[in-house]
């Protein structure tokens, strides 16, 4: 056992056909233990059928300061959005 526990992000798939969703994070010594704890901490009431754990340090995240360069240029390209389409009957969201 190492002195420092690592942080892990937990993703749970609630039922077949759905995506894994981020549910929270936890500390553990290694991925194996993180999986066990994810079961104890996040699935006690039958929330899931599949669990992923990912070491938080392995996630590369966008930064708040990147917002301008990352997202603003998309705002003036409305032709990229699907908002202009008329939805066929029976399709609620696209």
């Amino acid at each position: 056992m190492s002195d420092q526990l690592q942080l892990y992000e937990v993703f749970i798939r609630s039922s077949r056909g759905l995506d894994h969703k981020h549910v929270g994070s936890l500390h553990a010594d290694d991925p194996h233990q993180a999986l066990e704890y994810a079961r104890d901490v996040y699935t006690r009431r039958g929330e899931g059928i599949s669990i992923w754990v990912v070491a938080s340090r392995d996630i590369t995240a966008s930064q708040e300061s990147d917002c301008e360069s990352f997202y603003d240029p998309l705002d003036d390209k409305p032709y990229r959005h699907a908002a202009m389409y008329e939805l066929p009957e029976g399709v609620d969201s696209l």
Partner: protein, 252 residues
């Protein structure tokens, strides 16, 4: 409280093991080394208390009358409890708790597996539920043996010390008295003496991998099954039963 029917006595024994083990584990709530382990330990504690309820409910059904599951938990004194001594030993440090858990889980899994084949349908049904829990418990406690045994020098020493202290209490798990032997013949109870080799194999293999030595001390301490306990059980009951003793029949 005097129990005469052999089946009822057997069921109560199993309930007592589960209740006292569950209570000892519950003492870790909010005291475990870190949050995740706190929740995991509490889960295991709840599994055992849940198991105790199933056994006590069945025993109450067998007794009939006014007796309920609470009667067994709250209205019996030390001499009426027939749990294994192993279950009642104070929780000690984290290594002691996990070593106790490992030694017990390595027994509990083959025990519940065997009890699934009981000719008593109710016991078989309880065992089927408990077996799945025990499988998880053993995985967890084996895992901790490896982490602590093969961890730091301090965790290794604490583990080895705990095993030495606990070892003399493991014999009792495999003890079969007349009550058990008669029920074994009837196909109701598990012949625990036949589980010893499986248990020893699991324990030896895991401890070896965890760089821990299998204790060599011989001669077990027994008595729990006939109500002869360590001082420690009295303290558990004092705490657990206080409310029902002070305010009999209290509900909230």
């Amino acid at each position: 409280m005097k129990l005469n029917d052999p089946l009822t006595r057997y069921v109560v024994r199993l309930g007592d093991d589960a209740l006292i083990m569950g209570h000892r584990l519950s003492e870790w709530m909010s005291r475990a080394p870190f949050l995740e382990e706190d929740i995991a330990l509490s889960n295991v504690a709840l599994d055992f208390v849940g198991r105790a309820r199933l056994f006590y409910q069945y025993a109450a059904e067998l007794m009939g009358g006014e007796v309920t599951e609470d009667t067994f938990a709250y209205q019996r004194d030390v001499r009426d409890f027939t749990n294994l001594l192993l279950c009642e030993l104070p929780r000690g440090d984290f290594a002691f708790t996990l070593c106790r858990q490992f030694l017990y889980d390595a027994f509990s899994l083959p025990f519940t597996q065997a009890l699934c084949h009981s000719t008593d349908p109710q016991l078989a049904a309880i065992a089927a539920k408990a077996e799945k829990e025990s499988r998880y418990h053993l995985r967890r406690s084996s895992d901790w043996m490896l982490r602590l045994g093969d961890g730091t020098q301090e965790s290794h020493e604490r583990c080895q010390n705990a095993l030495e202290q606990l070892w003399i209490y493991t014999d009792e798990m495999f003890e079969c008295d007349d009550l058990v032997n008669d029920l074994v013949v009837a196909g109701v109870a598990v012949n625990t003496s036949s589980l010893r080799s499986t248990w020893l194999e699991t324990v030896t293999e895991t401890l070896r991998t965890a760089t821990l030595a299998v204790p060599e001390s011989q001669g077990g301490v027994t008595g729990g099954r006939v109500g002869i306990h360590t001082d420690d059980l009295g303290f558990i009951l004092a705490e657990m039963q206080f409310m029902q003793r002070a305010y009999p029949g209290l509900q909230w």
